[in-house]
């Protein structure tokens, strides 16, 4: 099934984008061993739908090696942020693709090793000449062979060779910061080789992804682009009736709803499993349902087939308020921006209402048929992420702890008294290889408490880490309810022996309002003082979202001078008594 628009739609639509600009920008290079014309337009249009201006470079036909191995090529001059290198089995295996038994097993093993080495050398050259992230495709395993049904019993057949190639390829880049893997083989399995590969288009123009399915392939690439730009959504707000279970609890009762191993209850069971998997990867779940609270919560707490438990939801609104007011309250509870939300509801009227009043919230058209819910969720690009950090895995638990903190705060009228009760401990450390993925994630995603909102790629941060003119630090925050993980980052640029510049300072919304920034500031001042630095400067670069940090510099006794704020270091500063600092 292919629900994408036609290729000519994207080609025409891309013409309308000329001269238009969107807030997010990205430069994308497409390198391939076969014809991928049209992919550029698909990516540009799909990006524009997400408010991204995508500038796209396409390498000349099958010139990927020449482009990568020539430092002066147009490809390097384009300076991409992200590069897609798409190669298929026919290209790599060449004659062996048709005659897999023309060589001995030993020769074929050597062949695989040589091809892996060739690719490795190519990529090494790329890595040393570009800061971009490369997304490299694995190889498709063909569904049929000229040896027919006998092939599967023949030793080291084509499928086995390709699988070995793929295993070695993935193993080479599993821990790489700059190389990501696009599962091209899975893409072909998903839509079917018979659909993807149209022999007429192949022989006519070396088109190996048919025009009907090229937009679907573009959608796969968008997952990497969304994640690369840090646009992954954080929270999924869910309706209950006919969304998490079939039927209406208020009418059908506890025993009447559809949820369990029998159809259609099994479709909801599957959907809940997919939701739980997303939750385990760090996506926050919340409930927004028009129901009697007791009816809804009883199902969640007591229904034997509920996969999602109460503690999987970081905010619960089961009441008769309108859906918009509830989402606003959930956003307040979680302290995250509305543009980080996705709202799923089977009711079209509710969807339209939320869409019209809260345009920042992404409200997809949930299919009418619940058996498609799970697949629909898995195909969404909004929850794509290149890496799952330890913080991601712990996020749901952390937000449950956040609920408990809010309750404590509400019962403690004075902020300082509340902070003291929290037993706050902040640990400041220099960023290392282990913390780098999370630090990069925070730099790409943090909007609210972000002094300059400078977005650095992981490779750029990595370069700063080893540059003596920079100090890249992270902050881990703990309190009596648990460990919040790495929730703060700062980058100091040592402009001279006497002047330091706070290039970046940010805190996750999870730890805002606890004076953590004060602790970081004192740490920086005291560290600077020990190194005889006289002045700390910084800038506040306002955005639509970083109002919460606008007073940080004046409140920390920085004085405005032209476009910078200056702090003159006089003495070592004491830490507030409610902050326990570990360095």
């Amino acid at each position: 099934m292919n629900s994408e628009k036609t290729l000519s739609y994207f080609i025409n639509k891309s013409n309308e984008l000329v001269g238009k600009s969107f807030p997010k920008k990205i430069k994308i290079a497409l390198l391939s061993s076969f014809t991928i014309n049209g992919l550029k337009e698909i990516i540009q249009v799909k990006s524009s739908e997400l408010n991204i201006s995508a500038s796209v470079y396409e390498s000349p036909y099958n010139q990927y090696s020449q482009e990568i191995l020539n430092k002066n090529s147009s490809f390097y001059k384009f300076k991409p942020d992200i590069v897609f290198l798409i190669i298929d089995s026919r290209t790599i295996f060449d004659e062996l693709y048709h005659f897999p038994f023309s060589k001995s097993i030993q020769q074929k093993k050597i062949f695989i090793d040589e091809k892996i080495l060739e690719l490795k050398n190519l990529i090494n050259y790329f890595v040393s000449n570009s800061d971009a992230t490369m997304v490299l495709s694995n190889l498709n395993v063909p569904s049929s062979s000229s040896y027919g049904i006998s092939e599967s019993k023949l030793e080291y057949n084509l499928s086995e060779m390709i699988q070995e190639f793929n295993t070695k390829l993935i193993s080479n880049y599993k821990k790489s910061e700059k190389i990501e893997i696009l599962n091209f083989n899975s893409f072909i399995s998903k839509f079917g080789e018979e659909n993807i590969f149209d022999p007429r288009q192949y022989f006519f123009g070396d088109i190996r992804i048919s025009m009907i399915f090229l937009p679907c392939f573009g959608q796969e690439l968008m997952k990497f682009i969304v994640s690369f730009l840090g646009l992954t959504k954080k929270c999924l707000v869910l309706d209950l009736d006919n969304t998490l279970w079939g039927g209406i609890v208020g009418e059908d009762g506890f025993n009447g709803i559809k949820l369990g191993p029998e159809p259609p209850g099994n479709a909801f069971l599957e959907f809940q499993k997919t939701l739980l998997s997303l939750n385990q990867q760090g996506i926050i779940l919340a409930i927004n349902s028009k129901n009697n609270f007791e009816d809804g919560i009883q199902i969640i707490r007591e229904h034997p087939y509920m996969i999602l438990k109460e503690n999987n939801f970081s905010s619960i609104r089961i009441n008769w308020h309108d859906k918009v007011s509830n989402i606003k309250e959930i956003a307040k509870d979680l302290n995250i921006g509305l543009d980080s939300f996705v709202f799923l509801d089977d009711d079209k009227v509710n969807r339209e209402f939320v869409k019209s009043v809260l345009p920042e919230v992404y409200v997809p058209e949930l299919p009418d048929d619940p058996s498609l819910y799970s697949k629909f969720l898995l195909n969404m690009i909004e929850f794509s992420h290149l890496k799952i950090t330890e913080e991601d895995k712990q996020r749901a638990k952390m937000y449950t702890q956040q609920k408990m903190r809010s309750e404590l705060q509400n019962s403690t009228p004075d902020l300082k008294a509340f902070l003291k009760k929290l037993n706050l401990k902040i640990i400041i450390k220099k960023v290392d290889a282990f913390s780098l993925p999370r630090v990069s994630q925070l730099i790409l995603k943090t909007n609210q408490f972000n002094l300059t909102t400078k977005r650095y790629k992981e490779s750029e941060i990595s370069t700063m880490m080893t540059d003596p003119n920079f100090f890249v630090g992270y902050v881990n925050v703990e309190d009596k309810f648990g460990d919040n993980g790495i929730t703060g980052v700062f980058i100091i640029k040592k402009e001279s022996k006497l002047i330091w510049n706070i290039d970046t300072l940010l805190l996750s919304c999870r730890v805002m309002g606890r004076d953590i920034e004060k602790g970081i500031f004192i740490y920086i001042v005291n560290k600077a003082k020990k190194e005889n630095v006289k002045q700390i400067k910084s800038q506040f670069i306002p955005t639509q979202k970083n109002k919460p940090i606008e007073d940080f510099l004046p409140n920390s006794n920085f004085k405005k001078q032209d476009d910078h704020w200056i702090y003159m270091i006089k003495s070592i500063l004491p830490y507030p008594d409610y902050l326990d600092l570990e360095i």
């Binding site: 000519s8 080609i11 025409n12 288009q201 123009g205």
Partner: protein
């Protein structure tokens, strides 16, 4: 069916319908690149629910050729 054919050509080649003439082809439609030629055949296949063989695809040099192949597949342009 001529109207539908011209609409598809207009959309793929990004030219007004009024400028289309049956004798036209890659020689005199600037956007009729080899790739847009593939896109056109693909759109015609979808629009008219037909399939072109590779020989038919290779044979197209003007809109007259397209009409000829579509007629052979039972599409009428009267």
């Amino acid at each position: 069916m001529s109207k539908k054919l011209y609409e598809i050509i207009s959309k793929v080649m990004n030219i007004p319908i009024s400028s289309i003439d049956d004798s036209m082809g890659p020689e005199n439609i600037e956007n009729w690149t080899s790739f847009n030629g593939y896109v056109l055949l693909h759109e015609l296949e979808t629009g008219f629910d037909v399939k072109f063989t590779i020989n038919e695809a290779m044979d197209v040099t003007t809109i007259i050729d397209i009409k000829k192949h579509l007629k052979n597949k039972g599409i009428s342009f009267d």
